[in-house]
Symmetry: C2
Subunit: 338 residues, 2 copies
Amino acid sequence: MVTIYDIAKATGFSPPSVSKALNGTGGLSAESREIILKTAVEMGYTPNMTARALSTSRSNLIGVIYEDYYMLMGFKHPLFSEILNSFRTVIENGGYDLLFLSRTLGERKMTYSDHCRFRNVDGVLILNPVPGDHEIFRLVDTGIPCVSANEPIAGISTVITENISGAKEGMDYLMRLGHRKIACISGPLLKTAPAAMERLIGYRESLAENGIEYDENLVEESRFWHAQAGYEAAVRLLSRTTGFTAIFAGNDTLANGIKLALEDNGIYIPHDVSLIGFDGDDNGAFMTPALTTMRQDSALIGAKAAEILIRRLSGHLEVETVRIPATLLERGSCRPLL
Amino acid sequence: MVTIYDIAKATGFSPPSVSKALNGTGGLSAESREIILKTAVEMGYTPNMTARALSTSRSNLIGVIYEDYYMLMGFKHPLFSEILNSFRTVIENGGYDLLFLSRTLGERKMTYSDHCRFRNVDGVLILNPVPGDHEIFRLVDTGIPCVSANEPIAGISTVITENISGAKEGMDYLMRLGHRKIACISGPLLKTAPAAMERLIGYRESLAENGIEYDENLVEESRFWHAQAGYEAAVRLLSRTTGFTAIFAGNDTLANGIKLALEDNGIYIPHDVSLIGFDGDDNGAFMTPALTTMRQDSALIGAKAAEILIRRLSGHLEVETVRIPATLLERGSCRPLL
DNA sequence: CTGAAAGCGCTTACAG
DNA sequence: CTGAAAGCGCTTACAG
C-alpha cells in the first residue's frame, strides 16, 4: 500500500505538501503540484479514507435508516427501494458512501446515534423508520445533519409526496368518469405516518368540491398496508354496503387485495366497479386489468433528499419541506360510467 | 466525545489497559477490567471505529457490488433485493456494516478494488455485477475475501440456486399434468450469467427423461429478462407455431410478458395454455391467475453467503459452491390436460 | 498484571 | 511556496 510518505520520498517533498497537492488545498506552486500528482498516479496511490476521517472527523459516510416495519419487505419494498436507488446515485456522485444504520453491533444493542458516532457518519437519511420510534427524535436532537423522505419530522428537512392534492386528483379523475358513489379504503390512519390521513383528506376535499356529502359508510380503514389487509378491509366494506361504483384505495398493494375480495364476491373490475390506487408500484402493471393509480415520483424524492442533505453538509442550514406532486397513471382499472 | 484517554484519566489506568478491558484482550485483573467497563458505561463511551480501523487495518465493513445491469431496477429487483435483505441481517449480527461499492468517487473514476482500499473494506459480496465485467476478476485477484451470490466466479465461494434440477422439477410438474408439447422461452443465454442456460438444460433433461424429442421450434431465447422481452419472444414463438399446451418461462417477469402476448392473440391462461415461471417474485401473486413458478430461496441464499463470508474472514480458506434447491410454488396458471 | 513508546496514514495550524 | 511538529483515537509489541 502506497502512502503519502512514499510519494514524499519519491518526489523530495514533505508529506504535508503531498497532502496539499492531493487535496488542492493550501499554497503550492503549480509545478510542484503537478510533479506530486503525476507521481501519485504512477505509484498507484489510493487515499486512505480511514486515516483522513480520523484526522478531519469527516467520513463522507451517509447513514441510512431503513427498517420497513410495515411491509416487512426490506429492500423489496416497491416505493422505498426506488427512493433509495436515486438517493444512492446522487449521494455517490457527491462523493459519499452509504452505510445502513442498525440498532445492534454484533450482539450488543446500540442506538442509531451510537452507530453514527461509532462510524463517524456525516449525515443521515431517515427513509423507513419504525413509526413513532423515539430514537429517531433522539438522533435528530444530537444535531447530526438529517433529511427525511416521505415522513415529516420536526426540525429537519423533508421530501414528501403531495398526498392531499394527489388523492384529490385521483378522485377528480373518477368524478370526471362520472362516478359519484366512491368508496375509500384507506391505509392505517396514524399520526406518526400521516400519508393515509393526508390521502383521506384529499378524498374528502374532492367530495366537497363536487358537492357530494361525505358518507362514513363508504370509508374503511385497513390495519396494515399489505394486500391481505386490503382484502380484509374490502370484506368489511362489502358487509355494510355495495352501493358504490368506484373505490379509492390508500395504496397499490391494498388495491390488489381489494380487487381479490371483490372478485371473490363476483364483482369485477372495471366492469362492475372502478378501482384506483396510489403509489405506481410495478406490481400494478402485472394485474389484469393493470391498475390505474396516482404515481409517486420516488426517483425525484430520493434525488431531492440527497441534494438537500449534501447542501446541508456544506453548511446550508435552512430547514425546508419539499412536496412532490403525484401524477395520474391511467391504466385499465377505471371505466367511465354511462 | 469521550475517548479511552478520558476513561484512563477517570480510573487511573493507562490507555492500553482501558483498551484491553474494552476488547477483552491481554491479561488484566478481573477487578481492573470491571472498574474500567463500569466507568466506560457511566461516561457513555462509544468506541471510535475509524481509529480502531486505522490501527488494526480491519474496518468491519463489507463491500457490496450491486449494479443490476439487466433489470435496471436497482433495489427494487425482486430477487436480489431479497438476497440482500437476509445478507444484511446475518452480516450485521456478525458485527459488520454494509457499504456499497461503486466505480466513482465524486467525479473521479475508481475501480472496485480502489474503493475497497479507500474504505479499508474487509470483504465483499458480489451480488449483482455487470455480466462479464473484468473488474470483478481483478478485484478477486487482489485476494480480498469475496463471496458471490447466484453467479459462479472462479476462485471464490458461491451460493446459487439449483437451476438445472429446479427447471427439471417445474417441467416434471407440467408432465404430471399431462402436458407433452411444452414450449420454452428462456432468458438470455450468456456464459457469464449462466442461469438461463442451466434452466434450459433442465428443460431438456425433463424432455429426455420423459421420452419426448427436443423440438427447437418450441424454444425461443429472449433478449433481456424483463417483461417486454418476454412479450417479444412470445410473439416470435407464436409466429412459428401454436402447437403447444404449456410454456416454461425463464423467469417470472418474462412470464408476465408472455401472458400478455398470448392474451393479445386470444390465448388465455390456464384455459388454453399453462404457464410456469421461475423465481417466485411477489409480482406473480398479483397476476390473474396467480403465476405458478419455481421459487428460489433468496433468503437462504443471502444468509448462506453471509455465513460463508464471515467464516472466510475468520480464516476459513476453503472455497465452496453451495447449491440451493428451488421449490414448486403452485398457484393458478397451470391446469391438468384432460 | 500494568504502562511507556511507537505507530496506523492523514491533516492542520504554525513558522519560515 | 514549503516543511517540522503535533494530533486525530486507538492498538500492538515490548518491558517491567
